[in-house]
Every structure is written in structure tokens, then in C-alpha cells.
């Protein structure tokens, strides 16, 4: 899967300067202070695994498992709707998740308009939902909820199912909207 403009322009913007800066700064560090202090300890693999919970835009970190749109709709109704609204429209308690069909509600930032990649949906639900509990949902449950939320936002979910291998390739409608900040101050106002 090729990642689109935001990654490439960030690489172009940062790449050459980072390479130069990195070399200069690291070399500078070496000249100023080559000492390695040997402070800290090497973590065990299980220490790292316990905290290594992130799922990135490409889907690295997605666990085995999967769930269907139909399962997800049921989970959503039971676990999410009380705060996010029966149609994902958002409430005082929680953000809008599903873009309202035109005429049926006020669009706010939602999965259709402001999520450029699908795997971080899994990431965020697993690490943060519901508020006040520590990651109680299993992988299959989360895949199902993600599948439901995507399809409700009119995103094509192959075979109406989200899983470790298919979620990274889901095409998100918001992806093309995102551009990386390249302002540098000065007299321009953008």
C-alpha cells in the first residue's frame, strides 16, 4: 500500500534538512560529550510488549482477529451509543463518529471527514475506550465496531468485515484532504 501525500511531503520537507541536521547535531553531541553514561536498564521483551500498544497508520501492531459489520452494529448499540449517540451523531458526552446524512444533523469532525487512515481507529478504541476503564474490549470486538463505524460512514469494508489483513487497505475519504504544515513564520500569513 502506498501511503499518500502527507507522508511523502513530510519526508520531502524534513528529509534533507533532517539528514543534515541529524548529522550535524549527532556529530556535535559526539564532540561535546561522547560519554555514554550507561544509565537505565535493558527492558525485557515482556516489559516492552506490555506497553507496545500502538497501531500505526499502516496497521503495524494490529493483533490477530476480526469482526463483521453486523456484529459491530450490535456492539456499538450496547457499548458506545450511550455516549456517542444511537446514530453516532455525538452528544454532550462524546464526539461525533458517523457523518450525518445531509439534512439529518450537523456535521462535525467525524470518521468520514477527519480520519485519513483506518488502523488508528483500532488503536484509539483499544487504548482509550471507554473512558474510565482500562482497555476492556477484546480484539474481535474492536474490529467489529471499527467495521460498523466505517460502513456507517459509507466507507467500503470488503466482505463487511475488518481484520488484521484487510483493515490497513481500507480507503478513507478524508485521506486526500490532509496536508502537512509547512509554514515557517515570517511575513506570510497562512
Amino acid at each position: 500500500m502506498g501511503l499518500t501525500k502527507p507522508f511523502r511531503s513530510r519526508s520531502r520537507a524534513w528529509g534533507p534538512s533532517l539528514a543534515v541536521t541529524g548529522i550535524v547535531v549527532l556529530a556535535g553531541c559526539a564532540q561535546r560529550d561522547a560519554t555514554m553514561y550507561g544509565i537505565g536498564h535493558a527492558p525485557s521483551l515482556s516489559e516492552i510488549a506490555a506497553w507496545d500498544i500502538d497501531v500505526n497508520a499502516r496497521g503495524d501492531g494490529l493483533p490477530p482477529g476480526g469482526g463483521t459489520v453486523a456484529q459491530g452494529a450490535a456492539y456499538y448499540a450496547g457499548l458506545c451509543a450511550s455516549c456517542h449517540g444511537a446514530r453516532g451523531e455525538g452528544t454532550q458526552l462524546a464526539s461525533q463518529l458517523i457523518r450525518p446524512d445531509s439534512g439529518s444533523g450537523t456535521p462535525r469532525r467525524n470518521i468520514a471527514t477527519h480520519w485519513p487512515y483506518a488502523p488508528p481507529l483500532f488503536d484509539y478504541i483499544r487504548r482509550a475506550m471507554p473512558p474510565g476503564a482500562s482497555a476492556p474490549y477484546g480484539a474481535d470486538t474492536i474490529y467489529a465496531i471499527v467495521a460498523h463505524l466505517l460502513e456507517a460512514n459509507h466507507v467500503n469494508v470488503p466482505n463487511h468485515r475488518a481484520d488484521q489483513s484487510t483493515l490497513p487497505s481500507v480507503a478513507m475519504p478524508a485521506r486526500q484532504r490532509f496536508v502537512v504544515d509547512d509554514r515557517r513564520g515570517g511575513h506570510e500569513l497562512r
Binding site: L3, P6, F7, R10, S11, W14, G15, S17, L18, T21, G22, V25, L26, C29, D33, M36, Y37, I39, G40, H41, A42, P43, E47, I48, W51, D52, I53, D54, N56, A57, R58, S95, R109, N110, I111, H114, W115, P116, Y117, P120, D123, Y124, R127, A128, P131, G132, S134, A174, R177, F178, V179, V180, D181, R183, R184, G185, G186, H187, L189, R190
Partner: protein, 410 residues
């Protein structure tokens, strides 16, 4: 207290103030100061209040009660009540998107892993053994501007999601040297130990520049509300990136595209575009005195406030007392620090006639704080609530009751 000693107190107070103002420390001034203290002590005891004995924890005068305005997850700094540029630690603003975790410092751990030669876990004691640096800089929430605020709005309401501390901690570049950062690494994920594990992707370039891991705030350990025991400080960058209760840094080639940097902290632009990774806080200023809720009497007054920029130093602050018709430079209180709240001021004589006072900041890149109209024209209608830094000010009607002067959002 006798009339004589009371009289001495008044004269002594005046003489002392005069001595301080003129910078003269005369023997007579010292004598009067001792008399003043004794008189106060005598007066206090006569009124039955506690005497002034030493204590383990200092308290404010009972006549002083500055406080934050707090909702469940947010509190704002009462800018109009403060002086100088350091925010008292108990008045630093708060935005807690998932509560304040209680962390035992003895159990604290920071993990650095991913594209590094040596994945490493550091205890708090480990971090304190490493080279430390101290820097005074602001933190500001990207959402620190209310559109269509009421006319009674105070500086706190208009800009209270910014505060400044003197932070002490380990430069991140020291840690990157310890763990052997891979040349392939371009980004890192910074993640907190709060319940939602709020996380942001940060360019490695910032990590190698002025990023540091703070464990002290204004001379002592961080407050829990500011991320005890360790937070990330990215000078000049939006508050959300300064991850509190820091637990993990993971180094990678690409940004992680977390929820916080896609659906939250991003800015609408014209033509349905969304600007992402708008890290830097743009230059801004606010007059904190006189300001609502004060009532101003005619005469001379030190018109003052704070200005700041995430891109570096403030080089100029301009003041207008005619609603933007004419501008003149304010004086800046030195030393002017980079990416730090900077005090400005100018003595001004108010003649009692209605007017509007405004300030605008210019930073070292040449950037000029814009009007809201200018900002909206480049950001578009649906820009959202972030990175809004327009010029605002106060209207002073003839009765002196200051009110907000803010361009309508439209």
C-alpha cells in the same frame, strides 16, 4: 496600636515605598521598615489574628486569593491577576483529556524503543542522574481562543489556557545519544501513562533540538496536574504535544497518525483541506492591565501585558489606544527569552474619554500578529478552534468599566 505608632506606620510605609522607587536604601528607610513590622505585629495581635511565625509551607496573604476557573477537565490561569512572567505552579492551566493519573515516583518508568540500538527503560532516579537543563518557556493549548465571547470576558477567558514555568529536566538529545538513535528514525511516538494513553507523533528533528523531559517545575517536582513525575516539554509547540505523565517514546520512520493529530488537533483550510502537524504556536499578545473585570479611573497607568511566540523571541509589541488607528512600541521587560511569555508595558494617560486599547506582537521571524479578519481570510470558514491568535483588546467607556473588544466571528 497608638496613634503615634499608627502615624509612624503610614509615614514609614510611604518613606519605604519612596525609597524603593528611587532605589535608595537609606538607614532611615531601614529604621522605618523595622518600625512598620513591629507596628503590624502589634496591630495583628491586638486584632486576635495569628502571629507571624515561621512555617513549613508558606501561605499567601489572606488578602490574596488568585485562583483558576475550573471545569471538570480544564482550568484557566487568571492572567489579569498575575505579574511578571512566571505562573505560580498552583495556577498553571490544565487540560486533561483523560484525567490525572496518580503515579508513584518509585515505580515510574520511561521506555525508549523502536528504531534505537539499545531499547532502554529509565527510572526517575535514572533521569535525575543524567545532565539537566533548565528553561523558562510557555505552554499553550492550541484551542486558547473563544469565538464570540461575552463582553465581560477577562484575559483569563480570552487566553487563560497558557502559562509559563521554569522547567528542569533531561534534554531528549541526551537520551537519544544513550539509546543510540537510528539514522532511519524520523518520527517518534510520545505516549502518556494516563488512562487514555494520549499520544502524539513528534519529528525526530524536534527531539534532537530543544525537546526535554521535565521533572521539575518552578524549582520543585512537577505538579500532578502538569504531568508528575515526568512530562515532555517541546518549547513553542502546542500543548497537546507536551505529553504529560510520559511513559514511552517509540522511534519510527513515519508518523503514527494518532487520533489526536488527525481528528483533533488539525486545522481546516480553504478548499476542504486540513492542515496537520501545525505544531508551532503563532505569536500572540494580550493586555492584562487594565483589563476586565477592573474599572479604570482617569490618569496615568502602566498599560501592560504579555506577548509570546512559539517560533522564538518577541522582538516588538505595539500598542494602540485608539482602536488600531495608530500604534506605538511598548517597552519589553528583559531578558527577552525565546518561546517565552514576555512582559510589555507603557505608561499611558487616560483622559476619561471612551477608547479601545489593543496590542499586537511581532516575533523574531518578522511575523506580525494578525487581525481576526486577516486570519479568517487565509484559513477559511471552517478552520476550527485551533491556532487562533488574533489581536484583541478592551473597550474603555467613559465610566471606566472595561469590556472585551473582539472581532465578530461572522
Amino acid at each position: 496600636m497608638s496613634d503615634e505608632s499608627r502615624g509612624i506606620s503610614r509615614r514609614a510605609a510611604t518613606a519605604r515605598l519612596g525609597a524603593l522607587v528611587t532605589g535608595l536604601g537609606t538607614a532611615a528607610g531601614i529604621r522605618h521598615r523595622v518600625s512598620l513590622s513591629a507596628a503590624l505585629l502589634e496591630g495583628a495581635t491586638a486584632r486576635g489574628e495569628p502571629d507571624g511565625s515561621a512555617t513549613a509551607h508558606g501561605e499567601r496573604s489572606p488578602y490574596e486569593d488568585p485562583k483558576r476557573s475550573a471545569s471538570q477537565s480544564t482550568s484557566t490561569t487568571p492572567l489579569q491577576e498575575l505579574h511578571g512572567t512566571i505562573t505560580p505552579s498552583d495556577l498553571h492551566f490544565e487540560v486533561h483529556n483523560s484525567g490525572i493519573p496518580a503515579i508513584d515516583p518509585a515505580a515510574y518508568k520511561l521506555l525508549l524503543h523502536g528504531l534505537v540500538d539499545r531499547p532502554t527503560a529509565f527510572s526517575l532516579a535514572d533521569l535525575k542522574r543524567l545532565p539537566s537543563e533548565t528553561r523558562t518557556c510557555f505552554i499553550e493549548c492550541a484551542g486558547n481562543y473563544p469565538r464570540n465571547a461575552p463582553v465581560t470576558a477577562t484575559p483569563e477567558m480570552m487566553a487563560g489556557l497558557t502559562s509559563q514555568s521554569e522547567w528542569t529536566g533531561v534534554p531528549l538529545r541526551v537520551l537519544l545519544h544513550e539509546v543510540g538513535l537510528s539514522p532511519k528514525a524520523r518520527w517518534f511516538l510520545a505516549e502518556g501513562a494516563d488512562r487514555a494513553h494520549i499520544d502524539r507523533s513528534i519529528p525526530v528533528e524536534k527531539g534532537l533540538d530543544d525537546a526535554f523531559l521535565a521533572y521539575a517545575q518552578n524549582g520543585e517536582a512537577l505538579r500532578p496536574a502538569q504531568g508528575y513525575p515526568v512530562r515532555l516539554v517541546l518549547p513553542g509547540w502546542e500543548g497537546n504535544t507536551n505529553i504529560k505523565w510520559l511513559r514511552r517514546l517509540k522511534f519510527a520512520v513515519e508518523p503514527f497518525m494518532t487520533r489526536w493529530e488527525t481528528s483533533r488537533y488539525s486545522d481546516g483550510l480553504p478548499d476542504a483541506r486540513i492542515r496537520q502537524f501545525s505544531f508551532v504556536i503563532d505569536a500572540r499578545s494580550i493586555i492584562t492591565f487594565p483589563a476586565p473585570p477592573a474599572t479604570l479611573a482617569p490618569g496615568w497607568i502602566d498599560l501592560r501585558g504579555i506577548a509570546w511566540s512559539g517560533r522564538g523571541r518577541i522582538t516588538r509589541v505595539e500598542l494602540s489606544t485608539d482602536g488600531g488607528g495608530t500604534w506605538r512600541d511598548a517597552d519589553l521587560q528583559g531578558p527577552v527569552l525565546s518561546k517565552a511569555h514576555t512582559r510589555f508595558g507603557k505608561m499611558w494617560h487616560w483622559d476619561g474619554k471612551e477608547c479601545v486599547i489593543l496590542s499586537r506582537a511581532i516575533d523574531e521571524t518578522g511575523y506580525v500578529q494578525p487581525t481576526l479578519a486577516e486570519l479568517r481570510s487565509v484559513r477559511g470558514r471552517d478552520t476550527g478552534p485551533y491556532h487562533l491568535n488574533p489581536i484583541i483588546g478592551w473597550r474603555i467607556p467613559a465610566d471606566g468599566r472595561l469590556e472585551l473588544r473582539q472581532e465578530a466571528w461572522g
